[in-house]
């Protein structure tokens, strides 16, 4: 697997010694997105883990590509402007938005779906650590059912988040994005292939390419730093994080677990699910089964 991935690398574009947590899932997602696309990329980031992880005080940069820091709630719209400006000047560059789930699924939803509808050929990667992690693990609408966060705490009256997460890839597909995919840092070859596909789709001016990659966070999800990849793998193998792509209205699974492991195995690895009752775990299992039934029926 790693030899395939190595072939796709166009350089190491993030400087070493960055400030992200040890074992950070988002760091891997950023590295492989940028290194696959190469130097000829404009990177846009919003306040969040990755943004704070790629900047410093005293006006020094940590990435070897041009970068624009935008406002939290408008991740995608400046990318439209940048792409239009580059087209006008006759310059061909990739425009990559690398944003967290908070800015994408909550705050910037209008702007992001607007870009999809307009068909601006921008690559948008949402790294989903399933909360507002940079400000200390507060819930976002991408936080899964039952998760403990600082604003969905566990106590006598509340037992973690009481609603399921928004289906952001589904929202993007129905808003007109030309290419939509989910990815996981446990399957880097699959992720890199999808980034490459996104580059192709946008270079051909077909529209917006959207990738939703799960980025487990040892700090917020409460597991040991060595288990980041294991947690990401279990998410895919239990069926909670299906890996698929949608292109030309066609839904295609890119990895299918031969036999799905019980969702409990995934939930039990993380401290944020430790308080879950058996009923809650069964509910999550049923929700996952239902989702896969729909996937299987539609094929």
């Amino acid at each position: 697997m790693s030899k395939q991935v190595e072939k796709e690398m166009r350089g190491e574009l993030v400087a070493e010694g960055g400030p992200l947590c040890p074992g950070c899932g988002a760091s891997l997602a950023l590295q492989f997105a940028l290194n696959t696309l190469g130097k000829n990329t404009v990177l846009l980031t919003t306040p969040g883990c990755v943004c704070m992880g790629t900047l410093t005080f005293d006006l020094h940069t940590l990435v070897k590509v041009p970068q624009i820091f935008t406002l939290f709630e408008n991740p995608a719209a400046p990318a439209t402007g940048v792409k239009a400006g580059l087209d006008r000047a006759g310059t061909e560059m990739n425009v990559l938005c690398f944003m967290g789930d908070g800015g994408t699924v909550d705050l910037g939803l209008g702007g992001v779906t607007g870009v999809a509808e307009r068909g601006d050929p921008v690559i948008y990667i949402c790294y989903d650590n399933e909360a507002y992690m940079n400000t200390g693990n507060q819930r976002s609408s991408s936080t899964p059912y039952g998760a403990l966060t600082m604003t969905t705490p566990v106590g006598k009256n509340l037992k973690g988040k009481s609603r399921f997460k928004k289906d952001m890839p589904g929202i993007m597909a129905s808003s007109g994005a030309a290419y939509v995919a989910t990815a996981s840092i446990a399957y880097i070859d699959d992720y890199v292939q999808k980034v490459r596909r996104a580059e192709e789709v946008t270079a051909n001016d077909e529209g917006m390419a959207y990738i939703h990659v799960q980025a487990p966070c040892p700090t917020g999800w409460r597991f040991q730093t060595k288990d980041t990849i294991k947690v990401a793998r279990l998410a895919v193998q239990s069926g909670l994080w299906p890996l698929y792509e949608i292109y030309s209205d066609e839904f295609k699974l890119t990895r299918r677990p031969k036999e799905r492991v019980p969702v409990r195995e995934y939930l039990n690895t993380q401290g944020r699910f430790r308080h879950l009752s058996d009923e809650q775990k069964d509910l999550i299992q049923a929700h996952t089964e239902n989702r896969w039934r729909k996937i299987d029926e539609s094929r």
Binding site: M1, S2, K3, V5, E6, E12, V14, A15, E16, G17, G18, P19, L20, P22, G23, C24, G25, S27, L28, Q31, L55, T56, L59, H60, T61, L62, K64, Q67, I188, P218, Q224, T225, K226, D227, T228, I229, K230
Partner: protein
């Protein structure tokens, strides 16, 4: 006391230079140690390191850059042959 030179500021807050490297290796409490005899050069540790602190060597092996390794332990966990072991570092 920080000295700022007002006369040398760019028109707008812009980062121009790459940051001088910070030795994040000092963060570690556990250190990954690679046994070259057991290593099968599969590259999985290189692929999964979030810090890119594992580099390919000239003979297609892999070497850990301890200046930046934060000691997360992912390489030790994912290594399929057990060639990388996490050792306590004081």
């Amino acid at each position: 006391m920080k000295k700022i030179d007002y006369n040398n500021l760019p028109e707008t807050p812009t980062a121009i230079k790459l940051r001088p490297p910070v030795e994040t290796g000092l963060w570690r409490t556990m250190k990954p140690v690679m046994d070259d005899e057991i290593c099968v050069k599969c590259g999985i540790c290189w692929m999964y390191c979030p810090e890119r602190a594992i580099k390919k060597t000239k003979d297609n092996g892999y070497k850990i850059n301890y200046a930046y390794c934060k000691g997360c332990g992912i390489c030790g966990e994912e290594c399929p042959t057990g060639a990388i072991k996490m050792v306590e570092e004081i």
